[in-house]
Amino acid sequence: MNIRIPSLVLLALAAPCLASATDYSVQPGSMLGFTSSFQGSSFDGHFNKWNAAISYDASKLASSKFDVTVDLASVKTGDSDRDSALPGPDFFNVAKYPQAHFVTTAFHQQGSQVVADGMLTLRGVSKPVSLTVTFKPQGSGATLDVTGTVKRLDFGVGGGQYADTSVIGPDVKVTAHLVLGAK
């Protein structure tokens, strides 16, 4: 008995360190969108097909992880010309690179803001991209809002003749709102 109690205490103390962040599943009502600009006017788009594996705990950032896969052909921007051009070889080139992949490499605090640093693989190019993280626990689940900026030309999206940033803006603002349920 003398031995048991300290070991139980030790175990109880160690548990939070060993345990990983909570796993969540993405629920309906979630949205992965972006904002870009064309001829001086901004437009919004979103992806209809994507998947995210979210492990997150604000107090266990080291073991938190986002892993997101996007079906690029599911892009919708409210304009049929644009929607038929985006999957084509000049932009996403879905025939060769059907998916984009984002996976976090680390989380860090920037003031009161949590920032997720990760690697985005898009159109065969992998480059670091950071997202601001706003996580709000709600019941057994949570909502997760992230925003970040992707420089389209870093990934060759609209490279070549479409590289003219006076026509198509260089920055694409990515915004996601995830409704998370406990797994």
Partner: protein
Amino acid sequence: MSLRSDGRQWGSAAKFFHWVVALGILGNGVWGLLMTGMAPSISKINIYALHKSIGLTVLALFALRLAWRLYDGAPPDEPMPRWQRNVAHATHALLYLFILAMPLSGWLFNSLHGYPLQWFKLFNLPALAAKNDELSHLAGEIHEWLFYLLLLVLVGHVGAALKHHFFDQDNVLRRMLPFARVRQGKDTSGELT
């Protein structure tokens, strides 16, 4: 040549507006008919953007032209039968209407299609209507047909000007030509001054 119109001929401001608007609307019309067949590319985007910028410029120049015409007036009509005068004035009114309708219908077409509207990459103009794919197609047809109708009226306008110049040998054409001088006295026939 004075800026203002006088009793014999149009002033240089009126001539400027007449010829620049004529060049703008004709060039942009032909340009517009040719560009629709292009395959999607950045050149197509830029060529469309230029077409829209020129169209907006024509619209602005037309507004200035109208204001100037109201202020400046017009030289008195050359002597001609009353029916010719009436047809001439009706033709001018129709041309004014088409010059106004061309860019406005293009602007409406662009709005219904949901495209941005930018003037030479400098600033954006608001949409005249909300995006509507069905109406956009109709507006595109109207925009094109207005140009054919304008050309039809223009044939009458140019034909009449040439008829007055070569057959009647009056000053109808000369008084609007940028560098020509009007014939002094209507009895002077056919000689360049």
